[in-house]
């Protein structure tokens, strides 16, 4: 009887142990995911191939940009967020192509595809020793503006490569629902 009980207990322990192994095992997607390099606003974040430093974030209701010589106003159903980032290459020339804005609830907003004609946006080619500024433009819901994280990587499939994760900190939301300091129109044709 003792022996039988001991066997059953051992079996249960083995089941629990195997279940623990199963649930704690990292999934393939986690294993081959990007490697984060974390930091805050105005800090230089050092990745494998590039460095990034977020200088400022501006919010706007509309963007003004030049398209083949004519001025274009870009409206949005939410709010535009324009982040100025300084990039530098480390050991060799490279280019940075992908950025997204991760809001406080985890929603990920990719760079807008509505401004592909404008200058100073990603992808940006960078060389060692020659820092270069670029603008990252996002279209987002105003409630995703505060405590967001900026994710920057060289390529779309940044498996096992660095991804800069920059915490942008809290943003005060004004009574009109938009971030405080939101300008009506931001002129993107101005030099960075």
């Amino acid at each position: 009887m003792m022996r039988k009980t001991a066997n059953i207990v051992l079996l249960l322990v083995a089941v629990a142990f195997c279940y623990g192994l199963q649930v704690s095992k990292p999934h393939y997607g986690d294993l081959i995911g990007p490697i984060p390099a974390r930091g805050k606003m105005a800090e230089t974040i050092v990745g494998r191939n590039f460095e990034a430093r977020a200088e400022k974030v501006a919010f706007a209701r509309n963007l003004k940009a030049d398209r083949f010589g004519e001025t274009k106003i870009l409206t949005t159903g939410g709010v535009w967020a324009v982040v100025t980032v300084e990039f530098a290459a480390r050991a060799q020339s490279t280019s940075v192509a992908v950025a997204s804005w991760r809001g406080p609830t985890g929603l990920a907003y990719d760079q807008t595809e509505r401004m592909s004609f404008a200058d100073g946006l990603l992808p940006v080619a960078i060389d060692p020793g020659l820092p270069k500024k670029a603008r990252l433009v996002f279209e987002l819901r105003p409630d995703e503006a505060s405590n967001a994280t900026l994710l920057i990587s060289e390529k779309l499939m940044s498996a096992l490569d660095s991804q800069a994760e920059i915490s942008l900190g809290p943003v005060v939301i004004a009574p009109d629902g938009l971030p405080a300091g939101t300008v009506d129109t931001l002129d993107m044709s101005q030099p960075i």
Binding site: H27, G29, G78, A108, D110, T112, R114, L140
Partner: protein, 197 residues
């Protein structure tokens, strides 16, 4: 193997009961439910959920191919336009809306893919961002010389979320399947009124 007819009968009975139980269980779990389910008719004045997208049909019309949201149509071609408010229900920016709507084969050439345009500034198939409704236009080029259709039949396709797909172990939307059909009146010209506010 069996010593007598009695035990053979017993074996047959056990096997038969096992099979019947398996079939009954499969039936309870819905293995046969997918068969012959009639296609659901969707109300055009309402919201349609397709997994990734929330659709709110606005209007359908035919028009000459000039200045139709900058879509690169053949000169002089007539186009069938379906305007819809789309909201990305997922957590990521996405442009996985190319297969969400299928026009019936009677109205458009099944081999022709529609141009999908953001009406706000005529950007051709941009990514749409989570929780931000946008008015989009699906623009099909109509075959030359055909009479403008009086109504548009659309099949709405939905996909299913998988936390990990079988090939890469990564999350994604898979298994497109029809969610229902939708019929809209087709107006004439871009002045056609929206069917819902």
């Amino acid at each position: 193997m069996f010593e007598n007819a009695g035990s053979r009968l017993k074996a047959w009975l056990v096997a038969g009961i096992g099979t019947a139980a398996a079939l009954a269980l499969a039936g309870v779990l819905g293995a046969f439910g997918a068969r012959h389910e009639p296609m659901q008719l969707l109300a055009p004045t309402g919201r349609i959920e397709t997994g990734q997208w929330l659709l709110r049909p606005l209007r359908a019309y035919t028009a000459e191919g000039e200045n139709l949201y900058g879509a690169p149509l053949k000169p002089g071609a007539r186009a069938l336009v379906f305007e819809v408010e789309m909201t990305n229900r997922t957590a990521k920016s996405s442009k996985d809306y190319f297969d969400v709507l299928q026009a019936s084969q009677a109205t458009v050439d099944p081999s022709s893919k529609p141009f999908i345009v953001l009406t706000r500034d005529s950007t051709l198939s941009p990514e749409l961002h989570p929780g931000m409704p946008e008015r989009m236009a699906y623009i099909w080029e109509l075959p030359g010389g055909s009479a403008p259709p009086a109504s548009l039949d659309l099949t709405v396709i939905r996909k299913t979320y998988k936390q990990r797909d079988n090939l890469y172990g990564l999350p994604g939307w898979f298994n497109p399947a029809p969610a229902g059909t939708l019929t809209l009146p087709v107006g004439s010209g871009p002045d056609t009124a929206d069917i819902q506010p």
